[in-house]
């Protein structure tokens, strides 16, 4: 029937940036409540939605909140009442709302949040750095990065379908790099409404705040009741894994675009050293890799698409095939295992049980939203090849652009 949907699909391809792509996804999802608070760079998404509501293209409550904390509380309240909710933020805004991430996930409300990454203060910096979203990574939200506007659009639709699945019921953070995705236009194929209708059924929480079926959300508990509730939350996160895979298949069937839910591999078939990263820099990385392949370097790319729930076994199996893994952090993890970023730990931990562990070290690149230029990729590749030759790493973290 996917084929049927395809045939009568009135699709059209439009050029738009990641922010607008996210807004379009929200519109196609026919969200009921949108709540906004201004902060660059995600603001453009809310601007676009505001116009759609103003034009009557989208029948939704558009709430200009008084803070990100309120934004997320409004989203929580609306979702608890049975409405499909869309919100978002960037940088310190993500952190101002910090209190709400656990309550929303814990009450199992599939709120969707669009995040266009921005470096945390100080000082003020609009550039993309994943630290804002990553700082909330363990709160029970489904989380992943898109590398292009099209992928962002698709991820937003899929995230709703996954998060609202009765087997999952979890909030989702659909992230994209500020500027690199959010402000650069790309071709986005907008689907036919019928396709979306087939893919994304209306949101239905089993126990919303409905006067006809009164329930209480979030009563106090005794210490002994903590563990079972936490265990349920852990089960929910794990239970999401197969659903995520199932939904990606469905998406491919209906929309004709197939994504590996966890990992995108590029030129890895015979690769010996690979970059491991998230988000937009994956695009530049591909060109760099092509060039270095011409010079005979057996280099490839592994891009993580979903970091929560974390595909530990996939990461282990994939990365075990290589000799060297260079983790490009684009986030700040002060005083962490690698005294660099947080991705290194995720990779290293996943590989610990591997029979043939590759060498793993990380690159601090693209911090503060700096573009990672080709010659930096060459330099990083050199470091990986040297390590491969040496059979040992030089150090766990290299600060790209500050070393010879």
């Amino acid at each position: 029937m996917g084929a049927v949907a395809e045939s009568k699909a009135k699709k059209k391809t439009v050029r738009m940036n990641g922010c607008v792509a996210a807004a379009q996804a929200a519109k196609y999802a026919d969200v009921d409540v949108i709540t906004a608070y201004p902060i660059r760079p995600y603001t453009a998404t809310m601007m676009a939605l505001a116009q759609m509501v103003a034009n009557g293209e989208l029948n939704a409550e558009y709430i200009v909140a008084d803070s990100e904390h309120s934004q997320l509380s409004i989203a929580h309240g609306a979702s608890s009442s049975g409405a499909r909710v869309f919100t978002g933020s960037s940088g310190v805004g993500v952190q101002f709302a910090y209190e709400l991430y656990s309550p929303i996930a814990g009450s199992r409300m599939p709120v969707q949040m669009m995040i266009a990454d921005r470096t945390l203060d100080p000082p003020g910096d609009f550039g993309s750095e994943h630290t804002d979203a990553l700082s909330t990574r363990d709160m029970g939200w489904i989380m992943g990065w898109s590398a292009t506007a099209q992928e962002a659009f698709d991820n937003h639709l899929m995230a709703y379908r996954i998060g609202e699945d009765p087997r999952v019921l979890l909030p989702q953070m659909v992230c994209q790099d500020g500027f690199f995705v959010s402000h650069i236009q790309g071709d986005v194929e907008l689907p036919d409404a019928g396709q979306v209708k087939e893919f994304l059924p209306p949101y239905k929480h089993p126990y919303p705040l409905d006067p006809r079926h009164p329930v209480s959300h979030g009563p106090q508990i005794m210490p002994e009741q903590g563990p079972p509730l936490q265990l349920e939350r852990a089960r929910a996160m794990e239970g999401a894994v197969p659903v995520i895979e199932e939904i990606h298949d469905q998406f491919a069937r209906i929309f004709g675009r197939r994504y590996d839910p966890w990992i995108e591999e590029f030129m890895t078939a015979d690769a010996e050293v690979v970059f491991f990263l998230q988000g937009a820099h994956g695009v530049t990385a591909k060109y760099a890799i092509k060039h270095m392949r011409d010079r005979g370097a057996k280099v490839g790319l592994v891009r993580l698409r979903t970091i929560r729930p974390y595909p530990t076994d996939r990461v282990k199996d994939v990365l075990s095939r290589f000799k060297v893994v260079g983790v490009i952090e684009t986030n700040l993890g002060l005083g962490t295992v690698s005294s660099g970023g947080v991705l290194y730990q995720e990779v290293a931990a996943a590989l610990y049980e591997s029979q043939q562990r590759p060498l793993v070290f990380s690159f601090m690149a693209g911090l503060g939203g700096e573009a990672i230029v080709l010659k930096e990729f060459y330099w990083m590749t050199q470091k990986m090849l040297e390590a491969q030759k040496r059979g040992a790493i030089e150090k766990r973290t290299h600060w790209v652009g500050f070393e010879e």
Partner: protein, 355 residues
């Protein structure tokens, strides 16, 4: 363009006064009991009295929002709650915002045909800590955006749930665990309370705003219904004595609710959003010196004459505000000489007579 279904709103009738001539007889109250027994609030809990009256006035087509506070922790002890209508806990700073979310959701869902029925009463029961301190912005936001909801500040003048700490609503001289009296600071709390309700009325003139007290149940229930009937946001600040925090004999909960008004420490008024003016017509049965109210509460029994005089002055200003001609006794009571230390026995006599 999408179809828009019109949103039907409830219109709740007002109750008649229980004082009919010489006769005292409460009007016929709805039998529905959305707030049921079986909760861990203190014996004689003022906020719980308010909660019950409010929910009874609202009826069954109601959704309650409970920011962190006594009415969350005490009412939902051990994974069960006393609410027969939908209720949700939210963060202490989210009083207004979560409520706004619920209201927005129902606006949209009814409009889009996803929920059928009259628009529910959406009531937020925020403590003074939530409404006046940490959640002030979120409450203001909800009022400003005029969501169709009623935000109640059950004002027990402190953070009671955490074991009695001072809030911006704690009265001058009120002893709390964060404002204990000592040789350096004999009065305990040095600051006078934030006038939250007037702030809300002044800043959100399109909203129905009123103050009420558990001492006047029918008046309270009517204000709740007015707030719910008002098409848009409404804010109610209700005096709800806290047995634990105020330290009084449990049977006095309602009594204090009357005394605080009769002593001029809790002016009762309504803000009329249509006429854009305050309604000060409420008059208590009698007017008394503040000491009569203070002497019943352990939290004030450390006060000295000058402190009581200072509070009388404060009360007198409130009386003037609502346009009451002050009896000379009360003006005289602004003088410390006219007062006696709370601790001293003779003070009982000094304040015994009702002005």
């Amino acid at each position: 363009m999408a179809t828009m279904i019109e949103v039907k709103r409830q219109e709740l009738p007002l109750f008649s006064s229980p004082n009919q001539g010489a006769r005292f007889f409460n009007p016929e109250l709805p039998s529905s009991e959305p707030f049921v027994p079986g909760h861990r609030t203190c014996a004689g809990c003022g906020p719980s009295i308010q909660y019950r009256m409010t929910s009874k006035a609202a009826g069954d087509n109601t959704i309650l929002v409970g920011p962190t506070g006594c009415m969350y922790v005490a009412n939902s002890s051990y994974l069960c709650t006393p609410y027969n209508v939908p209720w949700a806990h939210t963060q202490i700073g989210s009083a207004g915002s979560f409520t706004a979310g619920v209201a927005a959701a129902y606006e949209a869902m009814i409009r889009k045909g996803k929920w059928k029925g009259a628009f529910p009463n959406i009531i937020c029961e925020a403590g003074d800590g939530s409404a006046s301190d940490i959640g002030l912005a979120s409450v203001s936001g909800a009022l400003y955006r005029n969501h169709d909801c009623l935000i109640i500040c059950y004002d027990n003048e402190q953070y009671a749930n955490t074991g009695i700490q001072a809030s911006s609503r704690t009265p001058y001289g009120g002893m709390t665990t964060f404002t204990p009296p000592g040789s350096e600071i004999p009065e305990g709390k040095k600051l006078f309370p934030k006038d939250l309700a007037r702030m809300m009325a002044a800043g959100h003139p399109h909203c129905y705003v009123a103050t009420a007290s558990v001492g006047y149940p029918i008046d309270l229930m009517n204000k709740v219904r007015k707030g719910l009937n008002h098409k848009g946001a409404a804010f109610l600040m209700v005096y709800t004595p806290c047995q634990k925090g105020f330290v009084y004999e449990t049977p006095r909960s309602i009594d204090l609710g009357r005394l605080v008004v009769e002593c001029g420490l809790y002016p009762m008024w309504e803000w009329n959003p249509e006429r854009r003016e305050f309604d000060y017509s409420f008059r208590p049965a009698s007017i008394r010196p503040v000491a009569e109210y203070l002497k019943l509460q352990g939290r004030f029994l450390h006060l000295h004459a000058e402190h009581i005089a200072k509070m009388q002055k404060f009360a007198n200003e409130q009386w003037r505000m609502v346009g009451v001609a002050l009896p000379p006794e009360l003006v005289a009571a602004e003088n410390p000489e006219a007062q006696a230390d709370m601790a001293s026995a003779e003070m009982a006599a000094a304040i015994a007579h009702t002005v």
